[in-house]
Structure formats: C-alpha cells, structure tokens
Symmetry: C2
Subunit: 132 residues, 2 copies
Amino acid sequence: MHDLLVQQAGRSLQSRFGLSAADYTVLAELTRAPDDRLRMGDLAQVLGWEKSRLSHHLARMVKRGIVTREDCADDRRGAYVVVTEAGCAAMRAAAPRHVEDVRRLFLDHLTPAQTALLAEITDTVIEKIDPQ
Amino acid sequence: MHDLLVQQAGRSLQSRFGLSAADYTVLAELTRAPDDRLRMGDLAQVLGWEKSRLSHHLARMVKRGIVTREDCADDRRGAYVVVTEAGCAAMRAAAPRHVEDVRRLFLDHLTPAQTALLAEITDTVIEKIDPQ
C-alpha cells in the first residue's frame, strides 16, 4: 500500500511540477529545517536513506537548480544542502496539491473509525520501536 | 511508521548479512521472478523506483557480486538483471531472519483485531487506487 501510494502521488507530482516523490521528500525535509538547510549526514539520517543514494540524488537536484551546496569554512562537519529560490517556488506550488493527492488517494477511502484506528496503530508501533 | 520500520529492519539486515533494505527489496523481487531474473525496466516498475536510482543501485550490487547483467542478443528489450549464486545464498540466509524482524518490530505490537483492521484498510486502499 505504501509503495503504491508513493508511486501514484509521485506520478502526480512529476506530471504537474516535474518533481519525483523523492525530490518532494528531500525538499520537504529541507524547507522544514531552519534556514532551509541541512548537512548531508543529517539529511541522510532524517530521510533514512543510504549516503550513496542521497549523494547521487542530490547531484541530479543540484543540476536542475532546486538545491545547492554551501560550504562552511569554519566547521569541519561539512557542507550544507540548501533549497534554492527555484526549489522553494516548486514546493510552494506543489505542497497544496500534494496534500490534496494524499486525501484523494488515501484518506478519502477510509472511514473516520478506520483513520482513528490507523493513527492508533502507527502511534503504538512508533512508540515501541523508537521511543524518542 | 513505514520509514522507521524500513530503517530498523535495514539496520538488522546490514549488521547480520551486509544487505541494505534496498538490496533486500531488489533481491526479493528478482528471486520471486522466473529464473531469478528481470529486465531493468520491469524491475524499476515492480520496485516503483526511478530508473536513475535503480541503475546506480544495481552498479553497486554488481560490484559486490550479488547480481549480474546478462545480455540477450536476440531481444532488443535489453539486458536482464540476474541474481548470482552469492546473491541467492545471501537471500536464503537473510529471509527467515527478516521475517522474524518484521514480527518483532511490527506485528508483535499489534493486537489480532488491529492486524485484521490494518489488512482491511490496506486491501481497501489498494483496491481503490490500483484495481489490477
């Protein structure tokens, strides 16, 4: 179910905004962070991606001008990944439509009781496997 | 919840068998197919991955000797990705432990009623968004 939802929501993002589901996830994490930026290692961590995957993916996003890298000379923990103005504009356009897609593809098919139960299940599992 | 589960199950696979969650998913799709092989395009399709991601990921799996590419001269739809003997051995070792991890991380935290309801929810959503 998760894979199908990501695939279908991704197709919708791609055809309307030229963003893949993975692009959207990366931009969502970055725009949620202070100053629209995260270090590579922290970004890999919040995404739960392998570093090699993130590095290849970011190279393609940099090429398309939606994120950029900014070195910080005084800090050895490495460069930041930063959302560009074009990346911010893409997110502002895409986010409300993506929320609509999540409703249409997923939430609209559930009864209020099912939605409540699903929230209960996810809360339980998250609490058990990662109490932080 | 999905991301956390994949992350934790992936850590377990990595530390015991040297496989990432993504490696496991690729090997699972290939070993499920006739003759342990799929064409690149079909593999991208069943995984729901972008082709560029799959291509980079497979290059790393080929280097480690768990999958290989086999050209087919008489068919223009392109090369197969095939699981090697080492890849099959890794899957035979990892699969039963992965099933245990899925129980321990996920199913064991749910009551039988919650498991039944979750199955009902996923069936409904899958049926609505992809009737095939």
